[in-house]
């Protein structure tokens, strides 16, 4: 059964639509990656799916319910969001940030319940940030900070988890680490995950489904094995690549063709 059903969605800002005529669906427990160049509308799409933009047209149903009939609290109980990393004006510590994920489940004046504490402890362990709980968010590394935001989203305890470019600004070891955490969440917690990304190779082993976004429209969608082709990459990213098989995963992997070699090739052919 589809947990997210998107039907001819168009969305944007007051000066016009950025994404147009988007339709796709997501099954419970799936991991989907939305790939595209910078400015292709990835961030707009991931925000539109949660109705974070004013200008959203079309149909979105989450967990069988029309999202336009839900208020913010109800949406926040279905979808948790990890936005792109940025810095905050105030020095909250990691624990305080994670705790904010419980907002939607708490009363206004109530303090931490025992079930809140249990969930907080669990998600901090899952994301391996328990030792950082008293550290100011500004003093953490990029990878640690991203894990704190993922922990906050997990504390929200939603079936769906959305992430906007979770690996951007991270070193390569942290990039892989974030995706490993996401995979374990999918497996062990049954989370349905939707993530935007520009690093294609990074998401191939983790995604059941890929959507290629170009100029605000879906160029192609399907499983990575089918979709990662020379032609598709050229069409979406305007990049000449070779597709090879990753020696470990046996999955397709793109490799860039350096300038020098490409001129050689064109001469020989």
């Amino acid at each position: 059964m589809a947990i997210l059903e998107v039907d001819s969605l168009s969305a944007g800002y007051e000066d016009g639509l950025v994404v147009k005529d988007i339709s796709f669906s997501l099954k419970k427990g799936e991991f989907i990656s939305i790939l595209g160049r910078n400015g292709s509308g990835k961030s707009t799409l991931i925000k539109a799916l949660q109705r974070l933009l004013k200008n959203v047209l079309g149909g979105i149903s989450v967990d069988g319910e029309d999202i336009f009939g839900l208020n913010r609290r109800q949406i926040a109980k279905k979808i948790a969001f990890v936005p792109q990393i940025f810095s905050y004006a105030f020095e909250f510590n990691a624990m305080e940030i994670v705790l904010m994920g419980r907002y939607v489940h708490q009363g206004r004046l109530s303090s931490l319940s025992s079930s809140d504490s249990r969930i907080i402890e669990e998600v901090m362990e899952l994301t391996q940030i328990s030792h950082l709980k008293d550290k100011k968010i500004a003093h953490l590394s990029g990878g640690e900070r991203q894990r704190v935001f993922i922990a906050r989203a997990l504390a929200q305890d939603t079936p769906l988890l959305f992430l906007d470019e979770p690996s951007s600004h991270l070193d390569i070891n942290y990039q892989v680490e974030i995706y490993k955490i996401l995979k374990s969440l999918q497996r062990e917690k049954g989370k349905t995950i939707l993530s935007t990304e520009h690093n294609i190779n990074l998401v191939i082993p983790y995604s059941q489904k890929i959507i290629f976004l170009k100029e605000g429209k879906i160029q192609a969608q399907g499983p990575p094995k089918k979709l990662i082709t020379k032609a598709n990459i050229k069409e979406v990213f305007q990049a000449e690549v070779e597709i090879r098989e990753n020696i470990h995963s046996k999955l397709p992997e793109i490799s860039l063709i350096p300038e020098v070699q490409r001129t050689d090739e064109t001469q020989s052919s």
Partner: protein
């Protein structure tokens, strides 16, 4: 020390400072009085100095506390609201707008009272609100809410209101003291009626702020994050802007513009107990009230028997601290 321990310690220290502030403020004034006179009033019912202690000094110290608490709470709200620790009632233009309204009503000779509200404070409210509203509209005209624009527009609008205020005062220029009162602030005119013009708004605002404190924590992370965490951002923002304006306007209408309080006090508190608004609102109010009690004490005693405008004291303490903060944040 745990953050809870820090909060507890700070609370105890603030209570001691508050008691000390009340004590010294009650004993000190133009008429020489002793501790014995005060004790006589308290325990023997000796009414000789009752007017001085109760009507003059007690009303003044209470007013100083309420104004300091209101300005600081307003500042704490605005800083969270704009996600900018450099915001405050003055920066957004509310204080200057309210001051202009109050002076305008005087200029027009409208000094009647109406259901317990003076027309002057009603003018102050509305012109404070008007400035904030204009500033708010201008800064989100393109549908996107730009904090930098808002601060700049706020400062410009505030400067314009202040220049109009000065203009009105100098047009009528019968009293230099009036100009000093409105532009630099003072508690010389304190009485019980003024307390009733501040206290209800302060307590109402504090209750609302505490009620929405968790929402403010989310707002401080940005609108989109706050929404995705379940906060009804638009409604909460309107309420917070409303009470921040109410607090600043009611303070200004009884004591003129007292600068830097709303900006500096939430900073001090944040350094001591962190940014969690569930505690920041309450502790900023308490600290701000105490800060103005002591500032007023200084204003009254530094050049005794002459009284300094309190705005001079708060700027002398606040401005260097502000520069220090700016320097640190770089």
């Amino acid at each position: 020390m745990t953050i809870r321990g820090k909060r507890r310690l700070l609370f105890i220290i603030l209570l001691i400072l508050l008691a000390a502030g009340f004590f010294f403020s009650l004993l000190k004034g133009p008429v020489p009085t002793s501790f014995k006179d005060f004790m006589n009033l308290l325990f023997r019912g000796d009414k000789t100095y009752s007017t001085i202690f109760i009507d003059l000094r007690l009303s003044r110290v209470l007013l100083a506390f309420l104004v300091g608490a209101s300005l600081s709470l307003s500042g704490a709200i605005l800083q969270g609201y704009f996600q900018n620790p450099m915001a405050g009632p003055f920066v957004v233009g509310v204080s200057s707008g309210a001051s202009f309204g109050a002076v305008l009503s005087m200029f027009l000779g409208l000094s009647m009272t109406f259901h317990g509200f003076s027309l002057q404070s009603i003018f102050a409210f509305f012109s404070g609100f008007a400035i904030v509203y204009v500033v708010y509209l201008l800064s989100q005209r393109k549908g996107v809410f730009k904090v930098e624009t808002l601060l700049l527009v706020g400062i410009a609008a505030g400067a314009m209101a202040s220049s109009l205020t000065s203009f009105l005062i100098f047009l009528k220029s019968e009293s230099f003291e009036q100009a000093v009162f409105w532009l630099l602030g003072s508690f010389t005119l304190s009485d019980w009626r003024q307390i009733t013009a501040v206290a209800p708004y302060f307590f109402l605002s504090l209750i609302v702020a505490q009620w929405l404190a968790k929402d403010m924590n989310l707002l401080a992370l940005g609108d989109e994050t706050a929404q995705s965490l379940g906060c009804a951002v638009n409604r909460v923002r309107k309420i917070f802007l409303g009470i921040a304006t109410l607090l600043a306007a009611s303070s200004v209408s009884v004591s003129g513009i007292i600068g830097f309080v709303g900006l500096i006090v939430p900073h001090w508190v944040r350094i001591l107990i962190g940014p969690d608004h569930r505690y920041l609102f309450f502790f900023s109010s308490l600290t701000g009230g105490i800060f103005l009690i002591f500032s007023d004490l200084l204003a009254r005693t530094l050049l005794f028997p002459t009284e300094l405008p309190i705005g001079i004291i708060t700027a002398a303490i606040g401005a260097p601290f502000f520069i220090y903060l700016l320097n640190q944040s770089r």
